[in-house]
Amino acid sequence: MGNVKIIVDHDKMDYSGPLDVTELFKTVENFIFYMGYDKRQDKDFEQNTQNGKFVEWQISPWKWISDYARYIIKVRVIGYDILKTDVVSDGKKKKVDSGRVVIVIDGFVDYDLQNRWQDNPVLYFISQMYDKFIHKVYTERFEHMLVHDVNRLHDEIEKFLNIYRHYSVISHPA
């Protein structure tokens, strides 16, 4: 592991109500695939409890942006007391899940994954000078683009859950 920098720290959503958990996961996966990320599944836990299903699902997809840096977006979904309920949609009766879902998104930029610039203090110092002063514009641009990706993912999930989105953060890629 190289030098990991936290860019988006715990972007959190808390939702209670009817939803389709399977479709929610598919939406997130679809989005990361569409954005060109490689998938890494960290957790996929499900426990049937007396009050319903408890689900913990975590992925940390990554995308190389250069030989030196890559993005990692960590999405963690925790579902509590998820039960099947009957709803009427377009005049047809169908079953959907219902429960509480907490979604946490983190964004990281991982620099120098191969540890080429961390073997000794001099190299590390040079790499830090390079990142923070010489290459500063690019470094900040990388970070803006990651924030943009996370915002888009956040917006996609809000759209899926049909949450009021009047105050969504609007960002543009740098």
């Binding site: 996961f25 598919k26 890494r40 957790k43 499900e46 426990q47 049937n48 689900v55 699902w57 899940d97």
Partner: protein
């Protein structure tokens, strides 16, 4: 004295290299994937699904270990360890290690939708999948230091993109994640299905 030992260390580093020092990038592992499940499931069906999946993908499946023990009154702990390998081409092979462990496992009788009764298992399940692309699996390039250097150069500079972009990618998305999705489907988990199923390819 210090300078002498310092010189000696540098010389040692330069001249007395071990084989591992110049053998880099001999395999490309995938990140491990986990499933944890608690509830009712059909163990026989799960076992057959996994075996059938590898048969369809032209893998050879080996049972490395099967351990059954009863540590307490809550149920059995059964550990299955499988290894599936496929020699894809002369230069590389895929291997997938599967660890499947159950806790507090006991049999229950369930009534299916059509009214028939079936024996299934109830308990906790822990699954770990781990894939690996191993290059030069027959060790042809390990016969001399020159060949080892050549292999290292070949992997690092000539076929690096092929390893990362094709061989590793296919193993990750078409084998490991697909098997992961299959297991979730058989367990009827909320997270069943995966969005990489439409990936291009003929297999």
């Amino acid at each position: 004295m210090f300078i002498e030992s310092f010189k000696y260390n540098i010389l040692k580093e330069k001249l007395m290299k071990k084989v591992d020092d110049f053998l880099h990038f001999t395999d490309a592992p995938t990140p491990p994937v986990y499933i944890q499940y608690k509830g009712i499931f059909d163990m026989q069906d799960l076992y057959e699904s996994v075996a059938d999946f590898f048969r369809q993908k032209k893998f050879k499946l080996y049972e490395v270990q099967q351990r059954h023990r009863r540590p307490g009154p809550f149920g059995a702990e059964i550990l299955y360890q499988f290894r599936a390998t496929r020699k894809v081409e002369e230069h590389y092979e895929w291997s997938v290690d599967i660890t499947l462990e159950t806790f507090d496992l006991h049999d229950v009788e369930v009534v299916l939708k059509d009214g028939t009764k079936k024996k299934m298992s109830k308990g906790r399940l822990w699954i770990q999948l781990f894939g690996n692309v191993k290059m030069d699996y027959e060790g042809i390039w390990n016969k001399s230091a020159f060949l080892a250097h050549l292999k290292s150069f070949y992997h690092k500079y000539i076929i690096k993109k092929t390893i990362e972009g094709l061989w590793w990618d296919e193993l990750q998305y078409k084998i490991v994640l697909r098997l992961h999705a299959l297991i979730k489907e058989r367990l009827k988990m909320a997270s069943e299905g995966h969005e990489f199923r439409h990936m291009a390819g003929v297999h």
